[in-house]
């Protein structure tokens, strides 16, 4: 249906964390509240990679929810960010994905901003030939786009408008910080950038990322080629505030495994003509095949064998979102490892053997619940709490997402 078909009643919420009412994915009011309470509220949003802006004057544009943002490297090397909106009449200050500048000049009336987003000059402020111009009492220092608080973490740049939210490491929590540092332990290099537009509410995708229960059931490829199965070792951890999660899968036991027999996902008939691309190069000194990590509201870090990527979730409307993929390698990748990353880029991404379905399943839910806004999802696998576990046969991390979401939404 091309429009909402229900009177939505945001506010009412079932007891506990095991039920999610479907109106949260449908109600435009909820989306508006999310913009103010979450994206512009006390949350850290991923902005870009530090290597996107290596030198002073380098900048990159992005959005926090729907808010356009400029991230720049100031003269002193500091990373800064501000709203991409001219103080004069509101035009975007930057029109490119990124670049290098001496300062910023709005194209509309040539008002200038320094690299930190401070209004520096107003064209014809004094008028021409003694006529026109701005009033003498116009205070340049009093005008400018909203400034963001910025944090750089393991080469990732995060930003927030909030002064209350604790520092990024506290926000993520110690346990997940360890997981984050495990992957981003040295200088990364971008090897690909893609945007995937998903026909679903942004929360359905973030739930999917945190949903350790679905992977081996939805993604046949995972199961059949034993990349991750619920019967493999590993587990999930969730920060106390629910904000961050990390799930891991240990290398498969060689032993036969009957736990999936008879399920669609377990298709032992499948054989690869070129299995070489599954021969991952061991690059982390542990036996973790696969680690998925997320930070509320919209950041994801992926390690699937040698396929590394950062994903940024940007809502576009109640039933549409953008997923920005940045495929990564390390700056010092030896050739054979880099070659393996390129081959394993087939695993994840919009065309990924083990992620393709994630692009569609959110839309299947969005359409499935079209007239069920007063019904609720059941999120009870693994109990009713948002605590980590030694298994992935749980929806604990999904419950953690809702714990963080409700705290910020005041619901």
């Amino acid at each position: 249906m091309d429009q909402a078909v229900r009177h939505l009643s945001a506010g009412a919420w079932p007891e506990g964390l095991t039920r999610v009412p479907y109106w949260v994915y449908q109600d435009p009011e909820v989306a508006r509240d999310e913009q103010t309470r979450i994206f512009e509220g006390p949350a850290w949003s991923y902005l870009c990679l530090e290597i996107d802006i290596p030198e002073p004057g380098d900048y990159r544009t992005t959005t926090i929810g729907a808010m356009p943002v400029v991230v720049a490297r100031a003269e002193n090397g500091e990373v800064v960010a501000f709203e991409n909106r001219c103080a004069h009449r509101g035009a975007l200050i930057c029109l490119e994905d990124g670049g290098r500048v001496k300062d910023f000049q709005c194209i509309y009336h040539a008002w200038r901003y320094d690299l930190r987003g401070n209004l520096a000059s107003v064209a014809f402020r004094r008028g021409v030939n003694g006529m026109g111009g701005m009033p003498d009492d116009f205070d340049i220092a009093a005008h400018g786009p909203r400034k963001l608080r910025v944090a750089v973490l393991c080469g990732l740049v995060f930003g927030t408008l909030s002064t209350e939210v604790p520092d990024i490491e506290t926000y993520v929590g110690p346990e997940v910080m360890v997981r984050l540092r495990r992957v981003l332990h040295k200088k990364v290099e971008i090897i690909g950038r893609f945007t995937q537009q998903l026909p679903c509410n942004w929360k359905l995708y973030m739930e999917n990322v945190r949903d350790t229960y679905h992977a081996s059931l939805l993604h046949t490829f995972f199961t059949t080629f034993r990349i991750t199965r619920l019967s493999h070792g590993g587990g999930v951890m969730v920060s106390d505030n629910g904000v961050a999660h990390a799930s891991t899968t240990l290398a498969a036991a060689k032993a036969p495994d009957e736990s999936y027999s008879g399920m669609r996902a377990d298709n032992q008939a499948l054989k690869l003509q070129d299995p070489s691309f599954m021969n991952a190069v061991a690059e982390f000194d542990d036996n973790i095949n696969l680690q998925i990590l997320s930070v509320f509201p919209g950041f994801v870090l992926q390690q699937i064998h040698n396929a590394l990527a950062v994903r940024q979730i940007v809502p576009r409307g109640v039933d549409s979102m953008d997923l920005h993929w940045t495929y990564l390698g390390f700056a010092d990748d030896p050739p054979e490892l880099r070659a393996m990353r390129l081959k394993q880029s087939n695993l994840a991404g919009p065309a990924g053997f083990v992620s393709m379905e994630d692009g569609a399943v959110g839309g299947f839910v969005q359409r499935g619940i079209a007239t069920a806004s007063n019904q609720a999802a059941i999120v009870e696998m693994g109990g009713s709490t948002a605590e980590g576990a030694e298994t992935r046969a749980t929806e604990a991390s999904v419950r953690g997402f809702w714990k963080a979401w409700r705290a910020q939404m005041g619901l």
Binding site: I190, I191, G192, R193, F194, T195, Q196, Q197, L198, P199, L218, H219, T220, F221, T224, N267, A269, L270, L272, Q273, D274, F277, D322, Y327, R338, R341, L342, K343, S345, N346, G349, P350, A351, F353, M356, E357, G359, A360, G363
Partner: protein, 153 residues
């Protein structure tokens, strides 16, 4: 030759448009490179692809996965191809450039401009003197993919 290359492109597109995916790897040489990327990535020199195969076996595995492993809603492509531009021949490989447009039609009938761009190809005759792709870099104009990329471009 122009006509032969145009026919190769048309036949390859037709195999995909008619759902005869199994025929698709046959248009490539055993040792080949197939990559789907975008103009921005190509210009930035980023090597990774949405799809990346360095031999025909990987193309066959992609088809197998589409048939047996992956879930995606029923859809069709329609390729509309431009006239190939034949470039230089370097040690037996002929460089060819062709514009393409792909319209995707979903099960419910919704049609979408799914992709447009250029095929950067290197072609060579195989043992039986048929033109085959030694390399096909699919450079999409847009870096945006709607929902997912299942069927190759």
């Amino acid at each position: 030759m122009l006509t032969e290359i145009a026919a190769l492109n048309a036949a390859c597109a037709r195999a995909l448009d008619t759902g005869r995916f199994e025929e698709w790897p046959g248009f490539f040489l055993d040792r080949c490179l197939y990559k789907v990327t975008t103009a921005d990535n190509y210009e930035s020199g980023y090597q990774a692809g949405l799809i990346y195969a360095d031999c025909r076996a990987m193309l066959a595995d992609r088809v197998m996965a589409l048939r047996e492993a992956n879930i995606y809603e029923r859809q069709r492509y329609r390729h509309i191809l431009g006239m190939p531009l034949i470039g230089a021949e370097v040690d037996g490989l002929v460089a060819v450039e062709s514009s393409f447009l792909v319209i995707r039609t979903m099960r419910d009938g919704q049609m979408l401009i799914f992709a447009a761009g250029t095929y950067l190809d290197k072609v060579r005759r195989n043992q039986t003197a048929e033109w085959r792709y030694a390399e096909r870099i699919v450079v999409c104009d847009s870096q945006r993919i709607d929902t997912l990329l299942a069927i190759p471009l």
